[in-house]
Symmetry: C2
Subunit: 443 residues, 2 copies
């Protein structure tokens, strides 16, 4: 144990494991399952992992299988996972020791990627405040809509609003309906607040703070903020246009909707791979080309230090600029007048290729364990690894071993790249700099 604590990078996976264990224990209580008796251990483990890792894949129907107590546990696990176990651990450390040790600070830095250690305590509080008020605002809008538009009683509407707000902002992908949020496919008053919460949550706090501070001076934005804002827009457009183009005539998805509703659904599904995981159309009915495009968008994921998963936008765009420089024979990789250090390039490369390796190994394992075709299994693997939670619907029917593979993928996807990045951050060495340099966050 002391050995472990000497390596701060190991605190993050251990904290996640503890949260998953506690969550599994709580979900196994008879009070958690509707009808009583408690769920099988694998169901509790899968659900707890999916909640803590803010994934949203489910083996049972969240709406009917769990009691309000069970759903409350899931919501709490989502909140803990989204805010970051590490952040809570740091706060706990603060309460216990009344001081921020270097070790705690380094871990916190690795998770939230804030360069200035002295601002850490303030950042922790600001993150919590921003999260709280944003979630309250979205919850209020949703609750009003549920109450006015759907005649829900106030207590029900507030509970529904709060759960879906927390699930959206934390990119968790859980919903209190058996068909995700498909019932609201044509209701912009539900779709747009949820999509906004997912998009903002997937941008990440470093970018949000910079945007709040420098919103009117884009010239001052850091490379990391530029990539994240630009990348979010580009991937949203590609995702929405892809869904529109591929699904326009598909009777199982957009085909039965009018043109404005087609656009609303396409925008909603354009946001979700980064990595919200809710759906207003049935992914089990999607055309294979839409699923393959979504595979790529999910794998790329959202912003660094956000509630989103995937290899992250900055990783993807740094690699794209590396290739650009290579093709044009330029010695340095330059993004908006800043040279990207070779250390950052190597980190981006490692994060991306380790991701490919995990997804490949996961898909191959699921192929040997089941008789489903490769397409849907790849989709489920990437959805788990990138903690997205979109599904063609085959997860509940998987054999136990395959479910455990998904549990492992969700855990590795949420913790693995962080661990690697932390290990790298703690051991990085000084290099010679030839130009003013900046290190966008990768992984």
């Amino acid at each position: 144990m002391r050995r472990t604590l000497r390596h701060p990078a190991r605190i993050v996976p251990i904290a996640f494991l503890v949260a998953i264990a506690v969550g599994t224990g709580l979900l196994m209580l008879p009070a958690a399952r509707a009808g009583g008796g408690g769920p099988p251990p694998l169901t509790a483990l899968f659900t707890a992992t999916s909640a803590v890792c803010v994934t949203g894949l489910t083996v049972v129907d969240t709406a009917t299988y769990w009691t309000p107590f069970g759903q409350g546990v899931i919501m709490a696990l989502i909140q803990i996972g989204g805010y970051g176990i590490m952040t809570l651990a740091t706060l706990l450390g603060l309460l216990v020791s009344r001081r921020l040790g270097l070790r705690t600070r380094l871990v916190a830095q690795a998770e939230s990627r804030v360069d200035d250690l002295s601002q850490l305590r303030g950042v922790l509080i600001r993150v919590a405040l921003l999260m709280f008020w944003f979630e309250v605002a979205i919850a209020a809008i949703l609750a009003l809509r549920f109450a006015i538009g759907y005649g829900q009683r106030p207590a029900t509407a507030i509970w529904q609003g709060a759960f879906h707000s927390v699930s959206s902002f934390n990119n968790a992908g859980f919903a209190l309906y058996s068909d995700s949020v498909m019932g609201f496919a044509t209701d912009p008053w539900v779709c747009l607040p949820i999509a906004l919460a997912v998009a903002v949550g997937a941008v990440g706090f470093p970018v949000l703070f910079e945007l709040v501070r420098e919103f009117r001076r884009p010239a001052c934005w850091s490379v990391h903020t530029r990539i994240t804002v630009f990348g979010t827009g580009v991937l949203l457009a590609i995702g929405a246009l892809g869904v529109l183009l591929f699904e326009w005539t598909n009777p199982g998805t957009l085909g039965r909707l009018g043109v404005p509703d087609k656009v609303l659904a396409a925008v909603f599904q354009g946001v979700m791979p980064r990595s919200g995981g809710l759906s207003t159309v049935d992914y089990g009915q999607m055309r294979p080309e839409t699923l393959v495009l979504t595979d790529a968008l999910m794998f790329i994921g959202g912003g660094s230090a956000s509630t989103a998963g995937g290899i992250k936008l900055t990783t993807f765009f740094v690699l794209a600029f590396v290739i650009w420089a290579e093709i044009h024979g330029e010695p340095d990789v330059v993004i908006s007048r800043r040279r990207i250090s070779s250390a950052t390039q190597r980190q981006a490369l490692s994060v991306a290729l380790l991701g490919v390796a995990f997804v490949f190994a996961g898909t191959l394992t699921l192929l040997t364990l089941t008789s489903y075709p490769p397409g849907p299994l790849l989709f489920e693997t990437i959805s788990a690894f990138a903690t997205v939670g979109l599904s063609t619907g085959l997860t509940p029917a998987l054999p136990p071993a395959a479910k455990l593979v998904l549990v492992l993928l969700m855990f590795l996807g949420r913790v693995g790249t962080i661990t690697v990045a932390t290990g790298m951050a703690l051991r990085s060495r000084r290099r010679l700099y030839r130009l003013p340099e900046e290190r966008p966050i990768v992984g």
Copy 2:
């Protein structure tokens, strides 16, 4: 045209285009098609591209669709493609101008990756001699076996032996039987010479020459040779064990064979993804997990400056060592006591990720053009891009637009990475060296 010639990197794609055009023209002659009348242009274009790019995907049955003249044209195109249009162009330049201009030399260097320009002419001749004698030896063994074991007449046996020897050594994947070489699945006298020729051809001439020179002193081998020899062995073992494990009980493939024949077929198919493309078992009957594993092996491919395709063994292993160094926080990437320059790392990264991008774009396009599921289309895409030629059998039934996509993938796969690498090689700049350094070939 003068502009083009000023950029030597463009000579390679243009030479390939010329060879494909000439081949298409020859195959369109009435004398090429059995029964006369000449084939449709797309069939001739597809076959010529597949032959020049030594891929082996076919839209018609090579054995019955073409006359001996047509088959001879295919064999010649294979030989030209395998030896390298560039090499022939250089020789042509020699005959015309009696001197080796710098431009020709640089192109030849980029293709055959020989660092010492002054040895270029000697290398061209040694490559031709090695190729010729090796092909003659394999052809003789095959011809003897065809004559003695299968009662073919001498002329037929020699023709069959020569064609399959050329096809094997050049990793072309063409066969003169309607079912590839499945009829010889249990005959080691046919399988082993073919597998040997494919394996040796896929190792590449720089490595072969070094092995001939330094066979008894492995301590003197270059990093490039070590990676290629080690990688060939590892991927062969993974491929063979994978086929054995996944197909052992499959009645459509290994299930009906005895244990020794199972092993023979597994070894044969373990060699073929790198990138021979012949098959003694039916890939249309393979389990999906075998196809996914083969996807990965085909994508990695064979040795640099060989007749094999894919991103190349050195690219893959350099990237693996980069990740290893990154995970362990080491500033330098070291392979057997040699530091790998960051320029080489960047080349490897670019080659691999451009390959992923091409395969992704190809698969997505084929999905929109056809109604086949993603698994087989991904397999066909990688097989074309990595110039392997293995197929689950759907190529002939594809619509014309999809066939053109495969033509483009074969061309890009054979020429694209070379072009990129050449562009990089011609513009690389001096860097500061901290350690004795070596640049293994990537791409």
